[in-house]
Amino acid sequence: MLDKILFLLCLASALADERCMPDTPHGFQVRLSIKTALGDEAYVWNENEMFLFRASLAFAMRNHMNGQQFEVSNIIVCNETMRVSFWFIVTSPLDTSQLIDQENVEAAIRQSRNRINSAFLLTDKTLEFVDILPTLATLYTHPTPPWLIVFGVVMGAVGAGIIIMLVSSVVQKKRKTNGKPQDKDDDEETRVKTVENGDAHDGVHNMSFSEDERFTKM
């Protein structure tokens, strides 16, 4: 009896090993780059981590195929390397001799990719499912583009500035024309005074009637 059970177990495990192999048409290869992602805080890959992986994959399968109770034993892993890469296949919970096809597995992983990544503190790049492209994150589109807001603020300020300056210059001119008749007499006197002082800084020196030197030689 014991021999038969042993033989069946060996057969079963042998069968399982046979189906899980590199380039299997039913499974995928996984590559983890833990050191690249976490640097000094990298954890060591051991059997417990593998158990977590199989559990999270079972979780993904459960989410995708509603009703079917996948267990950790349904996820079969093989060809583990030092890279930390391995192949896996998924067996159906109802009949362990049947494998779940690739499309379903892929869809399940796609659906729960984020959760699987978070379980290992990794990203789409560092937890790589070979041949499964990550779904691209859509960038957040703002209802009003931010650049228009900045543009509005800047142009509002500049426009207000222009209006203020134009209005102030108009007001200044009005004040000048109102105050001019009174100031004219004062201006004439001051102008005469400056000419008398010989201070001709604001005038144009007419060179044609003067000799070379501005001041007569001693």
């Binding site: 890279r83 900045v150 543009f151 500049v158």
Partner: protein
């Protein structure tokens, strides 16, 4: 009582100096000089550059500032005063200033666009947008880079040929109008407002450059960039092209022959030491170029380092995956050792690995960029990799905007001051409205640069308006002041203004060295340009070698426009001279006829 016209004047000397420095120091100091240093053997380029500054730049600068301050008129008035035959020179300067303003402000509009977009997290040029059905990234963006895509597609929406004009890009029109508005508010009251604006626009770039200098020097890879920049390659000095480029760079960098410097110095008091001003402005301009090239090259070194690291890391990943080695066994440091070992031990397997052979630090450093490529592609890419990207982007674009704005003041004053001095305007038209009208007209014409092919047109204007006409104008300026007005009269002018006559160095430069240099530069420049049919790089997504730009040659009608752009500014010089000559001859002949008192026409047959 004489009706004295109040010519506006500077509030203080500092305003005048800051305005001149701001006019001279522009975008070219940041994105053209470092590029020239890079391609012409680093530190060795400084020699022809400084020689050109001393023998060509400073004399021209001194000449313009002196003549403007002495005759107290804008460029048109100054040349009319020296000789009526030279009147066309001022008109030529004004036309060049006008044409340059048009495309220069477009560059400022681009800077504004990037500035507005720097307030987002993440920066919009850091990643590609998704394609229509969200299955992958946009094809054009994937083949090139997100930074290229943002510049060519989202900013310019560039067409693939200059003949295809495309449509007006509404966002570009908005930015263009904003740029013209901002220049207007600073120039609204002439030098009263410009003088105050330059306190900020001329000093702020130095602050930002210093901040960038300190930060950039802390970035990894910065020292590689600096070593690369300043290592002199003395053999480049034997190449005449280097000397030519040094002379043209100094010439365009100092913004002479635009008429703007003459306008600014005409608002000075009469007794102002313009010799010291000229030397100060010239030296500060060159010093700024040098100072700016340090952070620019630190950042380019950082960028090259990043490119190198990502290239190596790709290779490391490929090797690690193929040989199933533990993660991070191969690092950047032991990469070469591992490559050798694996190649020797497992040659067959090794040859299957797709390795990128081009991971060479030197190759990434050799990628030289200048102009808009430096600011909007290289720099924006570097900024993404810096922590706190938004801050650096905002600082950088505000700095570029200040640099360009202060140059725009000079350009526009070179147009406005002569018109004001000609007194062709009705008295009832306030100055502000006149300025507004000019600005609105300029903005309307500049809308061609907001088309899909706008960037190509900016290149056309940049290469042909801002080059040959300026050389011709500067040559005529030298001849006009030194030979037509006379060295003696000009020395008297300077003695009047500064209290001493120009020394032998200035005289030698003005009379012989500078005109000779300019003539040589002009001849070589035209010869180099005329040698080949002009081409331009087009961004064509359907090109075979995309993302490389496709070199297309200008169609004939564009070539005709180029010829027009080179010749229209300089045509007034001979035209006005001929016109005045004819008038003088006719007046003399009619004067002769009238002055004979014995000629009684009544009895002639």
């Amino acid at each position: 009582i004489l009706e004295r016209e109040e010519r506006p004047k500077w509030d203080n000397k500092a305003q005048y100096l800051l305005t001149c420095i701001g006019f001279a120091v522009g975008l070219g100091n940041v994105w053209r000089f470092p590029y020239l240093c890079q391609i012409y053997g680093g530190g060795a380029f400084l020699i022809p550059y400084l020689i050109a500054l001393v023998f060509e730049g400073l004399p021209l600068l001194y000449l313009e500032l002196a003549i403007g301050q002495r005759l107290r008129l804008g460029s048109v008035g100054v040349w009319n005063s020296i000789s009526p035959l030279l009147g066309g020179l001022g008109i030529a300067s004004s036309i060049v200033s006008l044409l340059v303003s048009l495309f220069y402000n477009t560059i400022l509009a681009w800077v504004l666009w990037y500035f507005f977009h720097s307030f987002q997290n993440p920066l919009p040029w850091s990643s590609c947008p998704l394609n229509v059905n969200r299955t992958g990234y946009n094809v054009e963006c994937e083949k090139s880079t997100p930074v290229d895509y943002f510049w060519y597609r989202e900013t310019l929406n560039i067409t693939d040929d200059i003949e295809i004009s495309g449509s007006l890009q509404w966002w570009m029109v908005l930015c263009l109008v904003s740029a013209w508005f901002i220049v207007y508010i600073c120039a609204i009251k002439g030098i009263d407002s410009i003088g105050k604006a330059v306190y900020v626009t001329s000093t702020f770039p130095y602050l930002v450059l210093t901040i960038f200098l300190i930060y950039a020097l802390t970035l990894p890879g910065a020292t590689d960039g600096l070593v690369y920049l300043f290592t002199p390659e003395w053999s480049t000095l034997l190449n005449p092209q280097v000397w030519l480029d040094a002379a043209t760079q100094i010439f365009f960098s100092l913004s002479v022959a635009f008429g703007g410097l003459i306008a600014f110095s005409s608002y000075n008091t009469e007794r102002n030491n313009c010799e010291r001003d000229a030397v100060l402005v010239g030296v500060i301009n060159s010093a700024t170029s040098l100072y700016a090239s340090i952070p620019v090259f630190s950042i380019l070194g950082f960028k090259a380092n990043n490119a190198f690291l990502s290239c190596i890391n790709e290779n490391i990943l490929a090797l690690t995956n193929e040989f199933e080695m533990p993660d991070q066994n191969i690092t950047v440091d032991n990469y070469d050792h591992w490559v050798n070992y694996l190649n020797q031990t497992y040659p067959d397997q090794f040859s299957k690995v797709p390795l990128n052979d081009g991971c060479d630090r030197q190759k990434f450093l050799d990628e030289s960029v200048s102009g808009t490529g430096l600011a909007f592609i290289a720099f924006t890419e570097a900024v993404i990799a810096m922590p706190g990207s938004q801050v650096w982007a905002i600082l950088f674009f505000v700095m570029l905007f200040s640099l360009g704005l202060s140059s725009m003041f000079g350009n526009m004053e070179g147009v406005l001051t002569p018109i004001r001095d000609l007194k062709v305007l009705p008295k009832w038209l306030p100055d502000e409205i006149f300025t507004a009208i000019v600005f609105i007209l300029c903005c309307a014409v500049a809308l061609i640069f907001a088309l899909g092919s706008g960037n190509y047109w900016v290149e056309v204007f940049n290469s042909y308006v801002g080059s040959v006409p300026l050389l011709i104008i500067a040559l005529f300026e030298l001849i006009g002041v030194i030979y037509i007005r006379g060295m003696k009269t000009f020395s008297d002018d300077i003695y009047f203004m500064t209290g001493r006559r120009p020394n032998i160095f200035w005289k030698a430069c003005w009379m012989v060295i500078s005109p000779l240099l300019l003539l040589v530069v002009f001849i070589f420049y035209v010869a180099v340009q005329a040698r080949k049919h002009p081409t331009y790089p087009a961004w064509n997504p359907d090109y075979v070698d995309f993302p490389k730009t496709e070199t297309k040659s200008y169609p004939d009608w564009v070539f005709a426009i180029i010829v027009l752009l080179c010749s229209v500014p300089v045509i007034p010089i001979p035209l006005v001279a001929i016109y005045r000559l004819i008038r003088r001859i006719m007046r003399r002949s009619s004067h002769h006829a009238d002055s004979n008192p014995y000629n009684n026409y009544a009895f002639e047959g």
